[in-house]
Amino acid sequence: MFLRQSAGRVLRKAAEAAAMPARVTVSLLSPHETLVSGEFESVTIPGSAGDFGVLPGHVPVVAELKPGIVSVKSSEKDAENFFVSSGFAFVNADSTADICALEAVKVSELDVDAVRKGLEQAKADANSAADDDAKAAAQVALEVFEAMDAAVKAN
């Protein structure tokens, strides 16, 4: 009887340990490609309410994204940065994170000159916008380009 009790305890402990995986399974998806699919130590996500980091065992979250950087870390020093325009991130109870972005690109692939030009154009459009629709569109463009500019400068 003693043997059976301790065996039960060992099995239960093993089950608990297996419940929380060591790494987060991250998928960074856009409508036309899968940019990231693998296990990482952590991932930082630009939520519209603020940036947040996801480690294994993170509480389930659905976050709307704002233009910013998704950073996947395979170790403290080894980080890959991607710029995302917007979308949603789903962190599930089993330590998987699905980041569905409308547009996503490696920060290293952003063209600095094109970003600067786009930013200036967006500023001009925002100032000269005639009606509410145009103003809203220009505002969105401005947000995206400002975030891109910050991402490129930080790289």
């Binding site: 409508p31 036309h32 490609e33 519209s48 979250v61 659905v62 789903f90 569905c100 409308l102």
Partner: protein, 312 residues
């Protein structure tokens, strides 16, 4: 225009070859058959080209569609959670005020024809769904000219929106979002999408998928928030935004699958047409040779008979 004359020529050539004899009862001349063979040959060249074009387009469409599947899968996972909550026994009651707005049927078809049964299967499905369930309060959205003309003839008073040129190039998420915006503007209590799902280059399957409604997400928001923390900037906006994103993703997937199925079906149809042309050419060639040999035999007989007559 090329399509119509092509279809007509194939039908005419087939009918003529089947009848064998011309209307007047004269022997079919080798020359007439030669002209017919030339015509069927040119048709075969066209169908072979169309098959190659469809095959190369299929490659591009298929790779785009497969690349979109992970994102669509992730969104479907979330949408299924909402559907699960909605179908549960203690689901929040739907807010119904006044007369229900009716349902929306979105039919995904192609603009151009000569693509096998892709469009007829969708039109039939819509027609059967309406007739078998005696639906009266419904609106129809057609993507593709083939659907517009066929369904427009069946239910002319229910047409709400017609979309064209969706399958020319691989649909983008932006296009799907624009379509979602338009569909969102139509008052409806529920919506379903009728489309063909791509299984392989030679197989596709018809499917009817439920399109998310705003109510599905908003009404079940409380239950969802119990399982997932919602991080958002403005209250309640996140559920509406999530709904719009999910609708766009579902339409995006539908558009891509439809376009891919169109190309694969056209490739198969043109392959069949080329084979048929080949068989027809074979039959006509045999007939032509027989006619030619008969003419030679007749001439020989005349010469021999003439020679005999002179020899007498």
């Amino acid at each position: 225009k090329v399509m119509n004359s092509l279809a007509q020529r194939v039908t005419t050539a087939r009918a003529l070859a089947a009848s064998g004899m011309p209307a007047r009862g004269m022997a079919v001349s080798a020359k007439a058959l030669k002209i017919r063979i030339k015509s069927v040959n040119s048709i075969q060249r066209i169908t072979k080209t169309m098959k190659m074009v469809a095959a190369s387009k299929l490659k591009g469409f298929q790779s785009k569609m497969e690349a979109s599947r992970p994102l669509v899968g992730a969104i479907n996972k979330v949408q299924n959670k909402f559907i699960e909550f909605n179908n549960a026994e203690d689901a929040a009651p739907a807010a119904t005020e006044g007369t229900p707005a009716g349902e929306l049927l979105v039919a995904m078809t192609s603009d151009r024809g000569l693509c096998g049964a892709v469009n007829s299967s969708i039109v039939k499905a819509v027609r059967n769904d309406v007739r078998e369930n005696n639906k009266t309060n419904f609106g129809i959205v057609t993507v593709g000219d083939k659907g517009r003309s066929a369904i427009g003839r069946l239910f002319p008073d229910n047409m709400r929106l017609q979309v064209t040129e969706a399958g020319k190039k691989p649909p983008t998420f932006l296009q799907a979002s624009l379509l979602a915006e338009q569909i969102n503007g139509i008052e409806a209590s529920s919506a379903s999408m009728y489309y063909n799902v791509f299984k392989s280059a030679i197989a596709y399957e018809y499917e009817k998928a439920e399109l998310p409604s705003r109510a599905l997400f908003v009404d079940n928001g409380a239950k969802f928030a119990a399982e997932y923390e919602l991080e958002y900037e403005n209250d309640d906006v996140i559920l509406a935004d999530l709904y719009e994103f999910a609708l766009s993703a579902k339409l995006f997937n539908g558009l891509l699958e439809t376009a891919t199925c169109e190309q694969s079906a056209r490739m198969a149809a043109m392959d069949g047409a080329s084979k048929n042309c080949g068989e027809l050419i074979g039959k006509l060639t045999t007939q032509m040779n027989r006619a030619r040999q008969a003419a030679i035999t007749t001439e020989l007989c005349e010469i021999v008979a003439g020679a005999e007559a002179i020899a007498q």
